[in-house]
């Protein structure tokens, strides 16, 4: 039995279709990422899975329990960390934790081993009101509170949004520790580069799942040959490059340009020659596509 099973799920807000016919399946013990930009439907999907929102059609089962008809049983088994800080700002760190443990009929002591990794960073501030913590610390408290009843499935809605690169990495390290304790994790993010942290990833855009795969697996789903082009002042040449017959798409990726071509005859040398013919001195290398290349390909197809 999968830990999470979503079948033909749809949800609309008035005229706006937030989810259309979404299907996915998360294995027990998996770190499963839901990746897509703002407005793609991530939060809607997560809220339905977390029993907080009713779908219009289809169904979601978590640990075999239906999120609509069996929500009461289910709520004790899942931990949920919303995108917005939702703890009590005027309670201290420790009071918040005790409160959430109490709600779930347990104690901090009983489950301390599970939250230890997260909570030890918070302990120096345990008497500080939660509202007065830094962003990174608020998040660690929210994570502790979501774990305090030892859930089997942990659901996190964009835990790394608005957080700097260092705190993002810390958070992922914590999630890996939690996963190692056997907890299934379902996490959403708008950062494509976080895909590599997950066992599998579902890409979502406009309420539709564009594809599900392992982070490396997306490379095989990319249908074109892909090259990295390194040249100085490349921004000035983007229009000219996109006008080339060989060019399917051309987008900047950090310090190189990713150039996709449908023509299977091209190789790094021939592309270098083509670029030279329009006055660009470039180093060209054939590369494997990443998840972001695949996402861009899917967006450009539409």
């Amino acid at each position: 039995m999968p830990a999470i099973q979503v079948t033909n799920l749809s949800k609309s807000y008035g005229e706006v279709k937030a989810l259309s016919d979404v299907c996915l399946s998360v294995e027990t013990g998996e770190m499963y990422g839901l990746i897509g930009p703002d407005g793609a439907g991530k939060t809607t999907l997560i809220r339905i899975i977390a029993t907080l929102l009713l779908p219009d059609g289809g169904n979601a089962r978590v640990l075999g329990l239906d999120t609509v008809s069996q929500y009461k049983e289910l709520r004790g088994e899942i931990g949920y960390m919303p995108a917005v800080f939702s703890l009590y700002s005027d309670l201290t760190v420790q009071e918040n934790l005790n409160f959430f443990a109490g709600i779930f009929g347990t104690t901090v002591k009983e489950n301390y081993d599970l939250i230890k990794g997260v909570y030890h960073m918070l302990e120096p501030f345990k008497d500080r009101p939660a509202g007065k913590l830094s962003g990174g610390m608020k998040q660690k408290l929210a994570l502790s509170c979501a774990l305090i009843h030892r859930p089997k499935v942990l659901i996190l809605d964009e835990p790394t949004t608005g957080v700097d690169a260092v705190s993002r990495m810390e958070l992922w390290n914590l999630l890996h520790e939690i996963k190692n304790q056997g907890i299934t994790i379902f996490v959403s993010t708008a950062y494509m580069d976080e895909a590599k942290q997950c066992d599998r990833v579902a890409l979502i855009q406009k309420g539709t799942i564009l594809g599900v795969n392992t982070p490396e697996g997306f490379a095989h789903m990319f249908p074109y040959k892909l090259f990295a082009v390194y040249a100085s002042d490349i921004w000035k040449h983007l229009d000219a490059i996109r006008r080339l017959n060989a060019c399917e798409t051309a987008y900047m990726f950090g310090h190189s340009l990713h150039f996709a071509t449908k023509s299977s005859n091209e190789n790094a040398d021939s592309l270098g020659q083509i670029l030279k013919s329009i006055g660009i001195d470039a180093m060209v290398k054939e590369i494997d596509a990443g998840i972001e290349d695949y996402f861009i390909y899917q967006l450009s197809e539409k």
Binding site: P37, G39, A40, G162, D164, A165, V166, M169, Y251
Partner: protein, 246 residues
């Protein structure tokens, strides 16, 4: 030689005994894309607020577009553009109405306002949707309109505070192409971001660590100097040594 649009020398800002910005010195030239990077709490926001004339420095020198931050903050505010991750557009006005509204705030009117609005529509290729309500446009487009609106008074400097947060990968790249376009036309751009691939898109990057300069230079040169492959590696190695967490 490039003319400096921003000059900062020994800039310090203290809040009580806490030193938020500690002795910054840098210059930004005309048309330069200057990335301001750093962990949360490293002093980016404080620095930007001082550069925008919204916060008075404790000590040191700042001049922006030729105006002094101590004595001429109002002139600074009139000569900069600002766009943040939160949309400042009115969602129940059309694109055209938004441009005219913000133009009016900056003192444009009559023919001059109409002319400038038309110019922006042309420059940002907004013909097809200038009469559409902002709320019904996709996020990527709203972002570009925000940028257009923040340029309505032709400021020599524009501040972009995490402009691409949560935007899809194509829209994010189109936005950066627009940034490079306005830079090539001579507008100076100061930009903050949490996407480290975007740090590579800047002409110059300043990585702040605990209110100080952790690294400053062209991304290519910085990577060479610190022997790293990407700006992300550089950022992580510098910021991790910092002490900004509390």
């Amino acid at each position: 030689m490039m003319k400096n649009v921003i000059e900062v020398e020994n800039l310090v800002k203290k809040f009580g005994s806490f030193v938020a910005v500690n002795n910054l010195t840098f210059t930004v030239g005309k048309g330069e894309i200057f990335g301001l990077l750093g962990a949360n709490g490293a002093g980016k926001t404080t620095t930007i607020r001082m550069l925008c004339g919204l916060l008075s420095p404790t000590s040191g020198k700042i001049s922006v577009a030729g105006y002094d931050a101590y004595t001429q903050p109002e002139q600074i505010r009139a000569n900069i553009g600002y766009m943040s991750q939160k949309f400042s557009l009115y969602s129940d006005l059309t694109v055209w109405e938004n441009i005219r509204f913000f133009g009016g705030i900056y003192g444009l009117w009559g023919k001059a306002l109409k002319g400038r609005a038309l110019e922006l529509v042309e420059e940002f290729k907004m013909h097809d949707f200038k009469d559409i309500m902002v709320e019904s446009l996709p996020v990527g487009w709203r972002q570009r309109i925000s940028l257009a609106v923040s340029l309505v008074h032709k400021p020599p400097v524009i501040f972009l505070d995490e402009p691409t947060s949560g935007v899809d990968p194509v829209a994010r790249r189109m936005f950066w192409e627009t940034i490079h376009h306005i830079s090539s036309l001579g507008t100076t751009v100061i930009v903050t971001t949490h996407y480290m691939d975007e740090a590579e898109y800047c002409h110059t990057a300043l990585v702040m660590v605990d209110g100080k300069i952790g690294a400053l230079g062209k991304p290519g040169e910085l990577k060479q100097k610190y022997v790293v492959e990407t700006m992300n590696e550089l950022f992580l190695s510098l910021a991790r040594n910092g002490n900004t967490k509390s």
